[in-house]
Amino acid sequence: MSVVVGPSGTLLESLERRSRTSRLGRGRITLAVGILILGTMIVASLAAPLITSAKPDAIDPLHPLLHPLSPGHPLGTDSFGRDIFSRILYGGRIDLLIAFGATSVTAVVGTVIGLTSGYAGGWVDTVIMRIVDLFFAFPFFVLVIAIVAMLGPSVFNMFVAIWLTSWISYARITRGHTLGAKRQEYTLAARALGYTNRRVVLRHILPNLVSYVIIFAMVDAVGNIVLGSSLGFLGLGAQPPSSEWGVMISDGQNYLLTAWWLSTFPGIAIILVGVGFSLIGDGLADILRPGD
């Protein structure tokens, strides 16, 4: 069997290129599936009033704990007779807000801090990195609980706790890549041309590391949605009668034996959103960083 080798390429190069193309192809499929799953969840929760006429907080004392596939209640009802399907759709607004709101702020802030730290170097870098090390010593989840404990349990304070603590991962990633990019010739060239630091960082260094940030942000979004629902479950995030998914799972815990569906379906919703984000992240990694 002969291997066709391009006129300018060696065998190894062509093999590498082939594996890159296959990664690219696989990445596109993964990304598409991820966008499809997450997109469906986003549209479903935003367009909830168009999809179901049931109100998420409408109590119906005559029909508590209806089984899934009951007429008018595809996923059944809870102990107050509230429609589970509708509650999941509306509750998704909170969980998706946590995923996007918590992640986007920390991604931007952490990236700016990491860029500053890596580019400035010297004592600025030392101080920032010591703070990062310090935060890494804490069990993240425990620190978030402790901050929420002090500020008082609510969705907003949960956001504050995540904002305060989870920029550190972005700072560490960005700083590492900034250090690498600083030594690259394109950065030296840009500086030799007399561009301001701001322009060098934003126009020359940032574009080269932004893909790492975006890929990590997808993983982080999964973490944040699990975190947000965990706090809701513990009573430290969204508060009842909210239909945030963690709160719904907690509500259903008392009816496990008689009504398994109360806790089960909101959990599946969390998994779907998480898998959607993960697939988007994996797909982007294959497309944006095929060489890694």
Partner: protein, 314 residues
């Protein structure tokens, strides 16, 4: 050898600023409380006298620097302050709850290793095969799965329906602990093994590409021997490192899962103290868990240095 020794020496020295930093951060937690902490603690039982007493107890009637000095002075003597809810010191509360949490962390760590080491190795050796693909999909789902939810599902099937395991509690004696904590440990282990499996697989794949693997094979060393002596050994080192890095995650999951299974550990104490606004206990628990992370990280670094002669300081 001196490189490794020097590494550990510097590693221990590094603990000093981190430990100090932890105390400062935990100290400032109390100052995040909006308004007057005494008012929050007392609620409707608020009287100026009671508030003044709490101020004095928490040291809030002094300037910030004096407060920190007092906090540190107490800490050095092992005093974490008194619980405002229980009639007990935070230290004795934490000491009571510590064993269950430690047991659960170790148990979950062992289970996670038992789950992820074989899966990671097989997935890497059969890269792209059916098993590898199944592992990829499996870890994708378990990564997005909230541990508390999975705990509830396990509880439903194995404790309530099949009645194989108890619904809650910690039990008495070692074997009873093993039995009581099996479902919670499995819940945590599954979440943790997602990370371990992925790292182990990636580490195996990169080791398999190394030149020394080819060299050994060309020298006529059997495939199994190469795998056991070179590839798996390197992968185990990777596992130790990942264990250290992700210990904080393991502890976080433990805190969460304790609350699902009502295990009398630090996690249950921490969450319970939030609703009773028991600030000293929240601070104490946070401090102890952070110290635990620092300590175990040091231990994993020592083990890493012992297993891998290439370790030097950065």
């Amino acid at each position: 050898m001196s490189g490794r020794f020097g590494f550990l020496g510097r590693r221990v020295l590094q603990l000093i600023p981190v430990t100090l930093g932890i105390t400062i951060l935990v100290f400032f937690l109390l100052h995040l409380v909006p308004g007057d902490p005494a008012r929050q603690i007392l609620g409707q039982h608020y009287t100026p006298e009671a508030a003044a007493e709490i101020h004095h107890k928490l040291g809030l009637d002094q300037p910030l620097w004096e407060q920190y000095k007092l906090f540190m002075d107490r800490l050095i003597h092992g005093d974490l302050g008194d619980s405002v809810y229980y009639n007990q010191s935070a230290r004795s509360l934490i000491a009571e709850r510590m064993p269950a949490t430690m047991f659960l962390i170790v148990y979950a760590g062992v289970l996670a290793a038992l789950i992820s080491i074989p899966i990671g190795i097989i997935a890497a050796l059969r890269r792209g095969g059916v098993f590898d693909q199944a592992t990829r999909i499996g870890t994708l789902i378990t990564f997005a799965m909230p541990p508390f939810w999975f705990g509830i599902i396990l509880l439903l099937f194995f404790a309530l329906k099949l009645q194989l395991f108890p619904v809650s509690g910690y039990g008495n004696g070692f074997t009873d602990h093993l039995w009581h904590l099996f479902l919670p440990a499995l819940t945590i282990a599954l979440a943790f093994s997602t990370i371990l499996t992925r790292t182990l697989r990636a580490s195996m794949l990169s080791t398999l590409r190394m030149d020394f693997v080819d060299t050994a094979r060309i020298k006529g060393v059997s495939r199994t021997t190469v795998l056991m002596r070179h590839v798996v050994r390197n992968a185990i080192v990777a596992i130790v490192v990942v264990f250290g890095i992700n210990l904080a995650f393991l502890i976080g999951s433990t805190v969460l899962v304790e609350n699902v299974f009502s295990i009398p550990g630090l996690g249950e104490l921490l969450v319970g103290s939030v609703s009773s606004r028991d600030y000293p206990v929240v601070q104490g628990t946070t401090l102890v868990l952070a110290f635990l992370v620092v300590l175990v990280n040091l231990l994993t670094d020592i083990v890493h240095a012992a297993l891998d002669p290439r370790v030097t300081y950065e």
